[in-house]
């Protein structure tokens, strides 16, 4: 029969008892049912959709889409494997946009907007995809509201999304009051009174007015109609148009103003105002009422209203006269941290900020104690150990502190010891009240063992470095991160000199500490499992402090001992080590990025817990991470592996 030789006349699949012999396999329907946004579809639509799907396979490293070239004929739904999305910038550098894993889809934006691929897509694992034809998908978006809503949300999120904003958004629900503020306040309520000048006023005179009134902008009118604002000048204009261009100060202001003035109605909600500023990149807007410009509003005006600024909290802490007042202020730390996270701070900035606040609180406690107990009989340094010593606390971490004081004259020894004993006791008590729990190992200034004169501290370190057994050396590791938290910094520096001097050429402690680092292997397999086994048991959790961050911290500490580095902050140590160990630029940068990402994840995780009224901990659950985060962490763990190999090599040479 002719039809056997002619592919194009293939008849439809024959059937005896109706259509049940042509249905898509149930597993295919089940897969779609498990995938956003298709899980919202009814069973009949799902079964019909499955019949339109094709399944394709792309070996690792296959380019699926090429930016601005690929015509998108299908929506790709990842069933197995993963892809990375990236663009290549003008310099030819690859800019990674994101990773997508099982259940994610590719090509939706292009199909909906009818454009070619807007990103390069490449498989990073062997990848199987369900392909839904373009028109079928488009029809779903047009007819099923849950599907269209899903993509609407994704795209509006994507407009402002970078890796870090995604982290922030996913992990932190915005606090109600912030939302309420933005949605309840109208632009008119925040606008600043109007300062305006004639367009013929000289640039210099305008500058003088702005300086005199302490304002950042001036509106400009024509002499014919002083009520109608035709333009605006801001601080930026002075920088860009006057100084940078070497303009004559006597020119009229009209030559540098931005015109026309962009305005908003005074009853516009702050949220919409912010949105407008973000989309237009214009941060000074005229506020209009009854057809007249009545004031100016800036993004700064709105931001300032949004919550406690660090500056405000610092001032409050420093002016507290009572311990009770301090306790209350300490509670505001998490709110402040939320703010700076929302403003885009990286983990390093966040922990520095927390360290700074903690220091302010400590300083105030100790100052108030000196009011109470009288000045200290000799100079001293309040030492901080462990994460505090490294400037790396996140939220309320246990106290790890001590006091080192100048060796007293023999006759005053007991008196001095008694003073610091009471001082340490009270200080740690107030710190507990401010939310810094006692150290379970009793490493605190209230413990006579850690409240001693300089000579004894020196002996203690000498003992750890040259005589202690490996276990004792391991236990002493956090002491090597000491820094001055309050008091006379020189005493802490003398102690550091002693430690650095003792360590040079002394290999046992380096070897022993390195070995203990190597005992905790990089959690590579753990992550492979949880990236790949989407449906598997996900109760496994990751101790991000011990498995993710500690390898970096320990590496930096032990290598700093070896290379006589005085810094205690891990990033500062790594920066020094980069030179001393001649680390490759790529590797160093990767190391910093991974460390920062993990700090960030930890901070955000803990902030979320605090706001839910839970105790902060270090356990990250894979199912709470986005694909992107999993991917980044997984990549990060291979860095840890490299780090450990490096460490192994370093101690072999000893």
């Amino acid at each position: 029969m002719a039809e056997h030789n002619d592919k194009h006349t293939r008849s439809a699949v024959p059937s005896i008892n109706g259509r049940e012999h042509m249905v898509a396999p149930e597993v295919a329907v089940a897969f779609l049912r498990s995938t956003m946004p298709f899980k919202e579809l009814d069973e009949q639509t799902l079964a019909g959709l499955a019949r339109h799907c094709k399944i394709d396979f792309f070996p690792k490293g296959t380019r699926i889409f090429t930016y601005n070239q690929t015509e998108i004929t299908h929506l790709y739904l990842i069933q197995r494997g993963g892809v990375r999305a990236f663009i290549t910038d003008d310099d030819g550098d690859i800019v990674l946009k994101d990773y997508r894993g099982v259940g994610a889809n590719i090509g939706a934006l292009g199909i909906i907007r009818g454009t070619k691929a807007n990103l390069n897509i490449e498989t990073i694992e062997d990848t199987f995809c369900y392909l839904i034809p373009r028109d079928i998908f488009k029809n779903l978006v047009l007819t099923v509201s849950s599907v269209s809503h899903y993509y609407l949300k994704i795209f509006s999120d994507n407009i402002v999304a970078t890796a870090y904003t995604e982290l922030r958004k996913n992990k932190l629900a915005r606090r109600n009051s912030e939302e309420l503020f933005l949605f309840n306040t109208k632009a008119g309520e925040l606008s600043k009174p109007l300062y305006s000048v004639s367009a013929t006023t000289s640039i210099q005179e305008c500058g003088a007015i702005m300086a005199r009134q302490s304002i950042g902008s001036l509106l400009v009118y024509m002499d014919e109609d002083p009520g109608a604002m035709i333009g605006i000048i801001t601080d930026t204009d002075f920088r860009r148009k006057v100084i940078a261009e070497g303009r004559d100060y006597r020119e009229p202001v009209a030559s540098i103003m931005s015109s026309p003035l962009k305005t908003i109605p005074s009853d516009m909600l702050c949220f919409d105002v912010l949105l407008k500023m973000m989309t237009t990149s214009i941060h000074h807007l005229g506020v209009e009422q009854g057809g007249r410009v009545t004031g100016v509003i800036t993004s700064h005006d709105i931001m300032v209203q949004q919550g406690n600024s660090p500056y405000y909290l610092f001032k409050e802490i420093a002016s507290q006269k009572e311990f009770d007042g301090l306790y209350m202020l300490a509670e505001k730390v998490s709110g402040l941290v939320r703010n700076i996270i929302n403003e885009g701070a990286k983990a390093e900035d966040i922990s520095r900020m927390i360290a700074l606040i903690n220091e302010k609180i400590l300083a105030r406690i100790l100052v108030l104690l000196h009011y109470q107990l009288g000045p200290s009989p000799v100079k001293y340094s309040w030492l901080m150990f462990g994460s505090e010593g490294r400037h790396e606390q996140t939220f309320k971490t246990d106290q790890d502190n001590g006091i080192v004081f100048q060796d007293p004259e023999p006759g005053r020894r007991q008196e001095v010891i008694d003073y610091f004993s009471t001082f340490g006791e009270l200080a740690t008590h107030h710190l507990v009240k401010c939310g810094y729990p006692s150290c379970p190992d009793n490493v605190m200034a209230s413990n006579p063992k850690w409240c001693r004169p300089l000579s004894e501290w020196m002996q203690q370190f000498s003992h750890w470095i040259t005589q202690a057994d490996p276990q004792e050396q391991f236990n002493s590791a956090i002491f090597f991160d000491f820094r001055n938290g309050f008091g006379t910094e020189q005493i802490a520096m003398d102690l550091r000199d002693h430690v650095v001097g003792m360590c040079s050429g002394e290999n046992t402690i380096v070897k022993n500490l390195a070995r203990s680092c190597l005992r905790v292997p990089a959690p590579l397999s753990f992550f492979q499992q949880f990236v790949v086994e989407q449906n598997g048991d996900q109760r496994d959790r990751l101790d991000i402090k011990r498995r993710g961050l500690a390898p970096f911290v320990d590496f930096a500490r032990v290598m700093s001992l070896k290379y006589c580095i005085r810094q205690t902050n891990t990033l500062s140590r790594l920066k020094r080590l980069r030179i001393k160990m001649k680390l490759a630029d790529d590797f160093y940068n990767q190391m910093i990025e991974v460390y920062d990402l993990q700090m960030q994840l930890r901070v955000i995780h803990q902030l979320g817990q605090i706001e839910n009224g839970e105790e902060p901990d270090d356990f990250i659950y894979p199912d709470q991470l986005t694909d992107l985060e999993k991917r980044m962490l997984k990549d990060g763990f291979s860095v840890i592996d490299t780090l450990q190999q490096l460490l192994r090599k370093e101690i072999q040479e000893l």
Partner: protein
């Protein structure tokens, strides 16, 4: 009278079908690239492996075109065996006797299946077993066998495991269990599911097939001839003894 001529014409038509099929494949160009053919990946369920006594009780198949599995082109039938009583004892758990009782007999399903596969190449896991049962049926009903070339994903997996692509060289060379469809799918990290019927087994095989074709393409195996040549280096006796 009517039913006799009806049956005769059906037989005639069937014979034509086989003849056309054989004619087509005499001229098949085996130097075309694997990705340019269309395939039907299929699986049968049998009452047992005895060629004389046992029977096909279901056929599931899915088409691959442009090296993509087409979920719109599937085939799935249960087949009523002649000896339903005998079958009852040996039934595989996933088919009920009621399903079989309601199913059409093989002489009705077979032409539908032959039309479905048309001139596509056949693919299966341990496909020679399915093909031998299929050919027994075509010989009986149409006095001939179909000539569609068969590709065995099990053999292809052996080729793959001997290629530089396979990360565990030599590890499971003679371990026949390593070629069990489920194990292989898990090992190669393919989409994996518990198959409920012959259609889902065919789908699982199809995943394996497109994986293997594309992977082998990266080490220079592009045509049927190249694939068979690479397969010749394999000791097939291992395969035959392993299955029994």
């Amino acid at each position: 009278m009517g039913w006799i001529s009806d049956k005769l014409s059906r037989l005639r038509q069937a014979d034509d079908l086989i003849a056309a099929n054989n004619r087509y494949f005499r001229e098949l160009d085996r130097s075309r690239r694997l990705v340019d053919y269309s395939y039907v990946v299929y699986d049968t369920e049998l009452t047992g492996l005895n060629q004389k006594k046992d029977e096909i009780i279901s056929i599931g198949a899915v088409r691959i075109r442009d090296m993509r599995i087409d979920l719109g082109e599937t085939f799935h039938y249960y087949v009523r065996p002649r000896n339903l009583e005998h079958t009852r004892a040996t039934l595989i758990h996933r088919i009920t006797p009621e399903q079989l009782k309601a199913a059409p007999p093989l002489e009705e399903v077979l032409p539908l299946f032959l039309r479905f596969i048309e001139t596509d190449l056949l693919v299966g896991h341990y496909v020679w077993i399915d093909t031998s049962f299929l050919n027994r049926a075509t010989r009986k009903f149409y006095r001939g066998t179909i000539a569609n070339p068969n590709l065995d994903t099990m053999r292809m997996a052996q080729v793959y495991k001997r290629s530089p692509l396979y990360p565990y060289q030599g590890a499971s060379r003679l371990d026949e269990n390593g070629y069990n469809l489920q194990r292989l799918s898990a090992e190669l990290n393919l989409p994996f599911f518990e198959a409920h019927d012959a259609l889902e087994d065919a789908l699982q095989t199809a995943y394996l097939f497109i994986f293997l074709v594309k992977k082998l393409g990266t080490v220079g195996i592009h045509t049927i001839s190249e694939l068979f040549k690479a397969g010749k280096k394999i000791d097939w006796t291992v395969m035959k003894t392993g299955i029994a």
